[in-house]
């Protein structure tokens, strides 16, 4: 029952984001979408991903969207159909759906992911790394270089943000601070 209700609710949220009036409502529905997605991750036994989804998807990205919304202006142009964009979206979705047909059934014990590395990690991770949590053993020990690279990517993204936005803010702040504070509502 709940396994059908949650994905259905996700689809309804995804459609409602498009059709609701006002970007603020869209952001709120998007936040709800992330929260329900986190529940779905728990249902799928992916607790790590659930924590990330709840903290990043429902928490930080909502705050960031609202900040960006408050710093930009938008006008409601009414509803009009953009035929080329619709065609591109539908064809991309069709290609992706076609791609899922080739995915193996994850419950099948004979497919490659279930016969090669996964049993090895499950059997040997405690002796080799001393970790009770296999996820942590893979992330930090077997795939330690990958995690180092990911951390470096996150730090580099932070540096780029500092370099790009801090300079522009300083210039803007001195030049048109009067105009900006007047126009922002």
């Amino acid at each position: 029952m709940i396994d059908i209700a949650i994905p259905l609710f996700l689809v309804v949220c995804g459609i409602a984001v498009l059709f609701v009036r006002g970007l603020f409502s869209s952001i709120m529905i998007f936040s709800v979408y992330s929260l329900v997605m986190a529940i779905e991750w728990v249902r799928l036994n992916a607790v790590d991903v659930a924590i990330t989804e709840a903290a990043v998807g429902a928490g930080i990205s909502t705050v960031l969207f609202i900040i960006i919304l408050s710093r930009t202006k938008y006008v409601d142009e009414g509803k009009h159909m953009n035929i080329p964009a619709l065609l591109v979206s539908v064809s991309v979705a069709a290609v992706l759906l076609y791609g899922t047909l080739d995915l193996p059934n994850l419950r099948d014990p004979n497919i490659a992911p279930n016969t090669h590395v996964t049993p090895y990690y499950l059997e040997h991770s405690y002796e080799e790394t001393g970790q009770l949590n296999v996820v942590a053993a893979i992330l930090a020990s077997y795939r330690g270089y990958d995690t180092l690279g990911e951390t470096t990517v996150v730090a580099t993204a932070g540096f780029c943000l500092i370099l790009l936005l801090r300079g522009s803010n300083r210039r803007q702040g001195t030049k048109d601070s009067q105009k900006r504070t007047g126009s922002r509502t």
Binding site: A55, L64, I67, G130, G144, Y145, T151, I162
Partner: protein, 162 residues
């Protein structure tokens, strides 16, 4: 305008109505935030340090720690938040997290192992692995928390003036 909601001006534009004073308006959310923040941060530390036993790890815990500073900035304003966690400290933390991670790898090299080979750090290999993995999780957490605070500080920065 009122300094207390400088960071959170964008949340609710109607908040600026001058019928209630700043003190009355903010007292509930300020009190609740003051009460909740230690628990949020404790939970973040728990998720980081407990990562090798239960769900969670450096990234998740780092995000939770970063969110605690963002919540403080939203409620108390950007200026007060930057007095607690200054921009300079935060910039240093971004790179020092990666440094902790890479440094543990170099220490493993000095002990005669491969890069990031944790089990040479101490005589007991399993305990050494636990210590090493906890160390790199802490490094990941520091970087992620600092980058999340960076995201907030840099995007909201222009609002600082009013």
């Amino acid at each position: 305008m009122n300094k207390h909601t400088a960071g959170g001006v964008g949340i609710n534009p109607t908040e600026k109505s001058p019928t209630v004073t700043d003190q009355d308006k903010d007292i509930i959310k300020k009190t609740v935030t003051k009460f909740l923040l230690p628990f949020i941060q404790l939970f973040g530390l728990y998720v980081i340090v407990h990562g090798e036993l239960g769900p969670g790890g450096g990234f998740q815990g780092g995000v939770i720690l970063g969110v605690s500073v963002i919540v403080y900035a939203l409620v108390f304003g950007l200026k007060e938040a930057q007095q607690r966690m200054s921009v300079k400290t935060k910039d240093l933390l971004v790179s020092s997290g990666v440094l902790v991670y890479g440094g543990i790898g170099v220490i493993a090299l000095l002990f005669g192992g491969n890069y990031l080979q944790y089990n040479v750090l101490l005589p007991d290999p399993k305990f050494a692995s636990t210590i090493g993995i906890m160390g790199i999780e802490i490094g990941v957490g520091i970087t992620v928390a600092a980058v999340m605070i960076t995201l907030f500080y840099e995007t909201v920065r222009v609002d600082d003036n009013d």
